[in-house]
């Protein structure tokens, strides 16, 4: 048996053992022995290739189904912790304030290393909230005050809590934002809708993911 087949069979038997865990010890041990023996002899009949192992395990069926047929209490599939995704969303949204300069980048790294988010989620998370909710709040603040003074951008925006990129982005907002109230409003809406959409999308993905 190759390492790969071993790993597949081990994973299957672990799931089975877990699914059988509510049964009396004797019954659990017997079923486990019967089924591992079934796998051994089936694989022994067609030695070697790993797709054969997959076929053997597929025919054998879902371990939870076998456990249910044996009268075991149904158990939900084990779920991985969602901490990774929660940390990604928080970091993207307000990371820049928690960890100055690198907070958002931490969020970005978490976003792209998550196995729950889809590729589309990752692209949207990267593009639509370039600087998280921090930028939104600052932008909202500066749009409101930009008509009176454009030097605002060196004030609250230049604080160490915001990265260099933020300065550029928000200053840009201010210098062009002063021209018309309508344009400012429009920009505010876009800034509001984008991050809100992204955050809701990522939260929903995290909650709905079933693995």
């Amino acid at each position: 048996m190759t390492d790969l087949t071993n790993a597949q069979v081990d994973a299957y038997l672990r799931q089975l053992d877990y699914a059988l865990s509510s049964l009396p010890w004797e019954q659990r041990r017997e079923l486990f022995a019967d089924i591992s023996q079934h796998i051994d002899s089936e694989i022994g009949a067609t030695p070697g290739r790993s797709d054969d192992v997959e076929a053997v395990l597929a025919r054998l069926g879902d371990p939870r189904e076998i456990a249910l047929a044996a009268g075991a209490a149904p158990i939900a599939a084990p779920q991985r912790s969602r901490l990774h995704e929660v940390a990604a969303i928080v970091s993207l949204a307000i990371g820049a304030f928690i960890v100055p300069r690198i907070g958002w980048f931490i969020g970005l790294a978490l976003l792209w290393t998550s196995r729950r988010f889809t590729r589309a989620d990752k692209v949207i998370g990267t593009v639509l909230v370039p600087f998280g909710y921090g930028a939104l709040l600052l932008a909202a603040f500066s749009v409101g005050s930009s008509s009176s003074s454009e030097t605002d951008c060196t004030g609250p925006l230049g604080s160490p809590s915001s990265g260099a990129h933020q300065n550029v982005e928000v200053c840009h907002t201010i210098t062009t934002g002063g021209s018309s109230t309508l344009a400012s409003l429009l920009r505010l809406i876009i800034l509001l809708v984008g991050p809100t959409y992204t955050t809701i999308r990522l939260i929903r993905r995290t909650l709905r993911s079933t693995d």
Partner: protein, 111 residues
């Protein structure tokens, strides 16, 4: 009730006796039962045969002996017991009467 649930219930009530009937015909290994029953659609998956065999053993309807195999570990060889034969005969009686009633009503409904 959806049709999958109906089928699952029908299987649940009958599969033990179908397995018993196959074993009664000739003592055999689990692998042979899998082959025999696999084509009938009585098992949702091959693995669900083992809980059935486990129940039959626990109820004393079958007994097993370990037989050395040329390749791999020893395997269980299943044989029906006197008690198993009696249970099967009793079920057969129920089943014939039951299916007769059901068939009668279903064909009446169609006519």
């Amino acid at each position: 009730m959806n049709q999958d649930g109906v089928l699952a219930n029908l299987r649940r009530g009958t599969v033990e006796f179908c397995v018993l009937a196959v074993i009664r015909r000739a003592p055999c290994y689990a692998a042979e039962l899998v082959q025999e029953l696999g084509a009938t659609g009585l098992l949702t998956s091959e693995g669900t045969l083992y809980p059935v065999l486990s129940r039959l053993r626990a109820d004393g309807h079958v007994k097993t002996e370990w037989v050395e195999s040329t390749a791999g570990p020893p395997r269980r060889y299943y044989r029906i017991t006197r008690q198993g034969s009696a249970a099967l005969a009793e079920f057969r009686g129920h089943w014939v009467a039951f299916t007769r009633s059901v068939n009668h009503l279903l064909t009446e409904d169609q006519a």
